[in-house]
């Protein structure tokens, strides 16, 4: 534990140093939530429209903001003032909000601790390096500003309970997580199938009793969260705020997922058909403009509705659900949950690029299991970290994000190669011993010296080189050649390229899940 604290403290020092850096509008969003949960009665929380940044997280998060606002009021009353606090950016509010993020990361710390306490020291340190020093968390939470470390911590706690076989507690924490941020609900089908099969599938009477206990726990969590709003008769308003489907299929900056290819295909088809002489209308809503209304943004391909994306996600999830149904084993749950988040990221409705955190962080716990997984993780973490680069677009943060990614790739490379060379060495030594014993031939030992270290494949390597090319193009060559023209091209390029990478990772994960033996 004290060693883990050391890793955590090092990253905390860096986070403290990053306090004055750029923060996005999410900072003001959270400040507004502090203000409205502090100065308004509970019944007004989901109705208030003083600021455009209305409350759109589930109630537990609102309670959390209310809790924070108590301290905010003590530090500087203007932070929690609904009117005077709008776009307030004094040092007090910046320090206060940044430090709440840093402190709330202790939840992540506890989650990591719980998940790693039974592992051997080598793997444990590896996971700490990957998760506690994750560059993506630094970029999203401590530069861009969000509370993902805290929320992922709850997810990790839930997973750790499941891995230990304590299904009830795992289910409880997952329900809590859902009441903090509903975007995590993508993994709910996996949880449902797993808990149903692993926890409740044991005879009729016992099973029914367990099912009702589990149900009661989940309902209790939801009742605590949503109860007050049901009491005020606002549940519809709360849900409308939480699921703003009007926001469109893609975010202003396209998250690197499946829909990027769909849009590009549509644009490409429209372009060629127009060249061939067909009269194709230009859609009114454009994807590069940001907010999208109800009109179809597609020229040729059919419009995508939220329901369609929902069906796609379920379809993509189905192999994993079948596996979980057939053979619910605790050792696989982390992998399944990360797979679910990958599907949600690829096919979901209005996905943010930040959502890639939901699968990259838990995947670190899987990555240390074998060399193949490590290779995949090394590559995926670089790609998804790179896909976050457009979040920080100002010059001041440019060296920070580049150095973060560089440091992360050097560290993971060093750590994985140390871990797996060590393992291979031990294996090789064992092999030599066996051979020596069996054949009494000492000449053969030299062959076993050829150890298989941590090397990534040719495709992956060339993809990473391509990443560098994309970055150089979009940062330096594009402005140099085109000037201010076509400003969306670099961003589009990044999301298409990273989209390819994440699709590849999805296929890789899917293959792994299908191939895993039904023990």
């Amino acid at each position: 534990m004290s060693d883990l604290l050391w890793f955590f403290a090092i990253s905390t020092c860096l986070k403290l140093l990053l306090i004055p850096s750029y923060h996005s509008t999410d900072f003001e969003v959270h400040r507004n939530w502090l203000a409205l949960t502090h100065s308004l009665p509970l019944s007004q929380w989901y109705l208030d429209e003083t600021s455009p940044w209305t409350l759109d997280y589930p109630p537990l998060f609102a309670y959390f903001e209310h809790f924070l606002s108590i301290f905010a009021f003590l530090i500087d009353p203007q932070i929690v003032d609904l009117q005077k606090g709008l776009n307030y950016t004094s040092n007090s509010v910046i320090f206060f909000q940044r430090i709440t993020v840093i402190l709330s990361d202790s939840c992540l710390l506890y989650g990591v601790y719980r998940l790693t306490k039974d592992l051997d020291s080598g793997k444990r340190i590896l996971i700490w390096v990957l998760v506690v020093w994750s560059p993506m968390l630094v970029i999203v939470d401590h530069l861009h500003f969000q509370y993902n470390g805290f929320l992922l911590g709850i997810l990790l706690i839930s997973l750790s309970f499941l891995e230990q076989g304590k299904d009830l507690a795992g289910g409880f924490f997952f329900a809590v997580l859902l009441c903090f941020k509903h975007l995590f609900a993508v993994a709910a089908p996996v949880y449902f199938v797993y808990l149903f099969k692993h926890y409740c599938w044991c005879g009729l009477v016992k099973g029914f009793r367990r099912l009702s206990v589990l149900g009661a726990v989940v309902v209790a969590v939801f009742a605590v969260a949503y109860g007050p709003f049901v009491y005020h008769g606002q549940i519809q308003q709360v849900l409308r705020r939480m699921f703003p489907f009007g926001r469109g299929l893609c975010h202003a900056y396209w998250a690197p997922n499946f829909w990027v290819f769909y849009i590009v295909l549509d644009k490409g088809l429209a372009f060629f058909l127009r060249k061939l002489g067909f009269a194709i209308q230009t859609p009114e809503a454009s994807f590069t403009g940001g907010l999208v209304g109800d009109s179809s943004p597609f020229a040729i391909l059919p419009q995508i509705t939220p329901l369609a994306t929902f069906a796609m996600v379920l379809l993509a999830l189905s192999p994993c659900l079948i596996k979980a149904w057939r053979n619910p084993q605790p050792g696989m749950i982390t992998r399944w949950v990360t797979y679910a988040y990958t599907c949600g990221f690829l096919f979901g409705w209005h996905v943010h690029e930040k959502a890639s955190l939901h699968f990259v962080i838990p995947l670190a716990f899987v990555a240390v299991q074998s060399l193949e997984n490590a290779r995949h993780y090394f590559w995926l973490s670089i790609v998804s970290c790179y896909s976050l680069f457009p979040l920080l677009f100002e010059a001041q943060e440019y060296p920070i994000k580049v150095l973060l990614l560089l440091l992360h790739s050097i560290i993971t490379w060093l750590a994985f190669s140390a871990q797996f060379t060590k393992g291979e060495e031990a294996k090789a030594a064992a092999r030599i011993k066996k051979k020596d014993e069996q054949l009494k031939l000492k000449g053969n030992s030299s062959r076993a010296d050829k150890k298989e270290g941590f090397v990534i494949g040719g495709v992956e390597k060339s993809y990473l080189v391509g990443l560098l090319v994309v970055e150089i193009w979009s940062q330096f060559l594009h402005p140099l050649i085109f000037g201010d023209k076509l400003p969306f091209v670099p961003l589009m390029l990044i999301s298409i390229y990273c989209g390819l990478g994440i699709m590849y990772s999805w296929i890789w994960q899917l293959r792994w899940i299908i191939r895993s033996p039904n023990l």
Binding site: L17, I125, Q396
Partner: protein
């Protein structure tokens, strides 16, 4: 003999297992250096987000404006005008007072700034320029100088220092690198307060590494460059001089060796000073800019001898500047004499590093016109000696940080101060299972706890309380006194250590002869 060696190897492996950073070192020095260097660079970038000295504080601003102004001057005026007071170059407004190499460096950085943001270095109109891009570009010039000068020099040093030793555990090397690269004071002054110490100190580290790998001529060249970048590097001059002299005396042809070294030094100086060598007048003008004796024997509350004892003895009113000059010269020379004699008598790589520390200490304590920032100079050899003297490094770093606390408070750098000191302590105490840390247990007990808590309390008092009206600088004086006492103790200790080193080597020699 064979068996004990085997056991030691096994022990090392066990240590490696409980070690948090085993993954860092298994690919060799270069890979771990790269990793630590990227981290160190990241920390530097993060520090540079914070304010600098004199930010938004007209009319004189601070060191940031001084450096920017030098870029403006060197970029827009011919070389001969750089040090001369004229209608275009008002010397009283941050006139250039560093040696020519700094001026050339300012010129090149000025070119960089002009390419991206011409307004930030235009003559006259750019005074007090503080735009987003201008500030950023200035910060990036320091970052790039650090990455291009200091980091490679440290790499060279680490290679040279560890090449002769086979017994060092790999994690120790990584720790050593981290201690040098993540020196909190240097990072805060260069990337927070805003200066280019990384260049002169980097050149010095390069020279030290050259000495350690027996390339005296390279060492002379690099050290002369360092001297020509910042005259303060002269704090190390006695050590370099005595060590190289001592070494030359042991060669077959001492006079020739000394002559060679002297020629390299003179040649380098001539090269750097070339534009000012055409007339005596130009030369002496530059020289007079470099030695601002009129600024008094000390400034602010620096924890050195003159400033601390001025509480009791009013040096400034008793003596004239002329006699103070002589007094401080005498004190400095006499205090660094023992260490010089030791190095001339028995030059050794180890003794050389101690000699650097001792001469820097005596200059910091007794020389004329010392800043708080000058503590960086004793700090450098202390960090190079980290593996020999971990406790010394910790102690001097913490008190050097403390002695700069009032300065950093004025610069509004308290947050990075806290974060970077915490980072230093964390890395110093990395739970790596290093068993042979030569920390004095007894010293680590009551006495140190007392001192540490004392300084923590002083920090809090300084930040939260107002000093009494009669003594507005009471807290500064208290900090100064505390730091001075610690520096004095450490200086005594390192001087004694340098001489003891010789005794030990003599003993070892005797043992060898006996066997």
């Amino acid at each position: 003999m064979e068996r004990t060696k085997g056991r030691k190897v096994v022990k090392d492996k066990e240590v490696g297992d409980g070690d948090l950073c085993w993954w860092l070192v298994h690919k060799g020095i270069a890979a771990s250096f790269l990793c630590i260097a990227v981290f160190a660079l990241l920390v530097r970038v993060a520090i540079s987000l914070h304010p600098y000295s004199g930010a938004g504080n007209p009319p004189k601003y601070g060191d940031f404006e001084a450096q920017r102004h030098w870029m403006e001057i060197t970029l827009n005026l011919p070389v001969k005008e750089w040090y001369r007071n004229s209608t275009t170059n008002n010397i009283s407004y941050w006139g250039l007072d560093y040696p020519p190499l700094t001026a050339y460096q300012s010129y090149f950085h000025g070119l960089f700034l002009r390419f991206f943001h011409p307004e930030s270095v235009s003559l006259f109109s750019s005074r007090g320029h503080e735009s987003y891009l201008g500030k950023l570009l200035m910060r990036w010039t320091v970052l790039s100088s650090d990455a291009l000068v200091f980091f490679p020099a440290v790499f060279y040093f680490v290679l040279a220092y560890h090449s002769g030793r086979s017994n060092g555990h790999k994690t120790h090397i990584a720790w050593h690198i981290a201690m040098i690269l993540l020196s909190p004071c240097l990072m805060l002054i260069d990337h927070g307060h805003f200066q280019y110490n990384c260049i002169s100190l980097g050149l010095t580290v390069g020279a030290v590494a050259a000495v350690l790998s027996n390339k005296e001529l390279v060492a002379c060249f690099l050290f002369s460059l360092a001297l020509n970048h910042k005259q303060m590097t002269a704090y190390f001059a006695p050590a370099f001089f005595s060590h190289l002299l001592g070494k030359s005396l042991r060669r077959r042809n001492p006079a020739l060796e000394v002559l060679k070294l002297g020629l390299v030094v003179l040649g380098t100086f001539a090269l750097v000073w070339w534009p000012y060598l055409h007339s005596m007048e130009a030369f002496s003008r530059v020289l007079s800019r470099l030695a601002p004796f009129e600024r008094g024997i000390y400034e602010d509350y620096v924890a050195n001898f003159w400033c601390t004892t001025s509480v009791l003895v009013k040096w400034k009113s008793i003596f004239t500047i002329q006699s103070l000059k002589l007094l401080s010269l005498g004190a400095t020379v006499s205090t660094c004499l023992p260490s010089m004699v030791q190095q001339i008598w028995a030059p050794s790589n180890h003794g050389f590093l101690y000699g650097l520390l001792n001469s820097a200490f005596s200059f910091y304590m007794f020389s004329f016109q010392v800043h708080e920032k000058s503590i960086l100079l004793p700090l450098l050899p202390a960090s190079l000696l980290a593996l020999e003297e971990p406790f010394l490094l910790k102690w001097i770093t913490l008190y050097a940080l403390f002695s700069m606390f009032p300065l950093l408070c004025r610069d509004k750098l308290i947050l990075p101060y806290i974060a970077v000191s915490a980072l230093f302590v964390l890395i110093y105490y990395v739970p790596s299972g290093r068993q042979d840390r030569k920390e004095m247990r007894s010293f680590n007990s009551f006495f140190t706890i007392c001192l540490v808590s004392c300084s923590v309390v002083l920090h809090i008092v300084y930040l939260t309380m107002h000093p009494p009206h009669r003594y507005p600088f009471l807290f500064d004086a208290m900090i100064m006194l505390l730091c001075f006492s610690q520096f004095m103790l450490l200086a005594f200790y390192t001087n004694a250590k340098q001489w003891m080193l010789m005794k030990r080597s003599v003993l070892l020699d005797k043992e060898k002869k006996l066997h």
